[in-house]
Symmetry: none
DNA sequence: GCGTAACCGAGACGGTACGTCCAGTCTTTGA
DNA sequence: TCAAAGACTGGACGTACCGTCTCGGTTACGC
């Protein structure tokens, strides 16, 4: 008994794949995730529906990949610009700054995150994808692995550096500590309990770091 | 421009409303939220589809109310039992215990929350509803207002008591502080980044309270 | 076992009945028979649906009565005018003229009928009612009995007079003969095979009467 | 402004089309036209509703085509048998007999028509379709063009032959003349004014032909 | 003159079918 | 041989009416 006949990916049309990414992102941007349909994506991409079903298991999977592709292209671009230009670092791209003042560094990064999450155009698709991942475990795992974990790793790195510098107690688990920082932001963003502001980001950093720092 | 003509709620059939709640909860339990349809709920409840559309704007709204009704009935029942019985308090029902040891009290409650969230049968519909609320702002607002906020209030109350008792610094905002406690749990539960354990709950309490407590 | 409980017609609201007639005729005129609904008639008449269901078995029955009522009012009006005025006779009202020239008399009447049937506004509801009667035997019987037969009787009367006058052979059955005259018109009107013109009406009279008249 | 995007008829599924015809005819036969629904036809045919809506604008249109298909198949069958067998002609199939005696030929055919119209099973759907065509001009036009006109042409042919043979006056318009013959039958059939009998058919032929024949 | 029975407007109810939309599969055609 | 195109079955969607029912209120009859 043969497995469900995986298509031969070497013969895959790159042209179609790009067109599908573009169409998917455009439609989600224009009409929202819920109103975006596979049929619509196929039509917009000038592609047969079967071409989508052949390579992706669900609408959400298409969008996930489209996002990753977008992110990859942007970061490639950024990397190119950066190499040519100065050497500035930014949170999403290459890491959390390390000026020696952990609180200041975290506030900088979390404030930027707040701004990003508050931008409705940019955040809406992420929100939709997050929601889908909450319900669909397979998609959620992918979401975490390919979008969230890389970000989280940056915090872990920075926190370890802070531990080495004595800014954070050594017996703290950075993996847990970082959740103290980002979970409250995510919480407010996803559930919309209260507005997500710079002041809130600062407050979170202050409350959390006090718990993490060694007694003076 | 006249509003869409709200039906006369005094003439509403209570029989149908209960039947719809029951059918909705049963179907979600049996087949999952995504596979539950309004048509299915109506059929199972022995009710015309229009009766659902007349009173609720969406499947999610039906379920939300069904949950609230269930919770209300359970708490009414619990209250009845309680009045007749001892005077024990539990987190979901009437508040967070106050033994004088904030850390212990919080660990107790958060461990119970962890257990609840780890029970697939009970948590699955909540997860679905949460996801829906993330995408649909109106529903999300209702979700927060009617399900989340009451719970949150319990933490605020307990934290204020702790402030009065000198266990927590007076300049802490309880509304923010409680998010340091529950957001990490919610984060792991929704995104499934790492397993949600009692140990994790304890760790969160320890890390967070250290930041909140006055210097010894 | 009691019969289905006929309502007490002495207590019937005349106000409602008139309002229903008016609403029904207005709606059929505005939106056509098929799009006219009982619900719509009730709403327009400012009447509960039950009031319609109490007194009529179907939408078609309502309309039939509304027509009959309209016709009755119009003929009452005409009769009043006539009494006051000259003594002119018209086909629909008081009979087919008898000038001694059967062919001329019939052509006059049939041409008027042609004009009436060609007036879309006036004929559309009749067409709809006829179609309904074709499918629903009970309604059809009523239609024939209360609308068609009275008209037919006028032809019978005129043809008998013609027989007495020797214009038509005595062994002719007037009931059959008249169908030779009006059935072709009805046929073209209902089925729209070919245009319904004065010339056609004349032709029918000529062809038919030649068969009915005694050999010269 | 693009037209509503006509589907590509070369790719149409013949299997589905036949199944829909069969289901439609079966349901009309079993439950009557009014109670036959598109949903029911689709279910019975094992076909998606959309496949019906894709190719037909209405229930009536489906049935019209189903009838035409049935008639076509029957006549094809008859033609096959005929080719193999004798050379007999019948009214519905290949024409009105021409024995030289117009009256006798017409009586034969009209009596057969009477029998057909009096057969409730066979006539009920035709009646429904006729009624529908009376109300819906587009459908009516199709009905006339594809079902009625071919029949009518047979009469025209026979009448022309009678004119050539001197049985009917040359200045008679056969198109009008035939309506004198068939309209009365149609009239009684549709409106159910009086029973439709062989005697009536004979009477109609006698009355009408006397008007059409040359003076002896 | 006073119940009381009935009709009345109103509209919610359980249903049925509508016509549309999309999912996911299958088939045909062209490159 | 894959991809485009798109027709197919299936089924939920949300709407519109159906015919029944229940609800107050308002007549108008019979005691």
């Amino acid at each position: 008994m043969a497995p469900p006949k995986a298509p031969d990916s070497t013969r895959r049309s790159d042209r179609s794949r790009r067109a599908i990414y573009d169409a998917a992102l455009a439609l989600v941007g224009e009409t929202g995730y819920a109103k975006t349909t596979i049929e619509g994506i196929a039509a917009r991409a000038g592609v047969g529906k079967q071409t989508i079903y052949r390579w992706w298991p669900s609408k959400a999977a298409v969008l996930m990949e489209a996002f990753l592709d977008l992110a990859a292209r942007q970061s490639a671009e950024a990397a190119g610009g950066e190499a040519a230009g100065a050497g500035a670092t930014d949170a999403a791209g290459t890491g959390i700054p390390d000026t020696g003042d952990l609180a200041a560094d975290l506030k900088l990064v979390l404030r930027a995150t707040v701004d990003e999450l508050n931008d409705p155009a940019a955040a809406a698709p992420t929100r939709a994808l997050t929601a889908e991942g909450i319900v669909d475990p397979a998609l959620g795992a992918q979401f975490v692995e390919r979008l969230l974990d890389p970000q989280i790793q940056l915090y872990v790195t920075r926190l370890r550096a802070a531990q080495d510098a004595g800014e954070v107690r050594a017996d703290i688990d950075p993996r847990t500590a970082l959740e103290l920082l980002i979970a409250p932001l995510t919480h407010r963003w996803l559930l919309r309990t209260l507005p997500l502001t710079h002041a809130y980001a600062d407050e979170i950093v202050d409350y959390a770091l006090r718990g993490l720092s060694p007694r003076p």
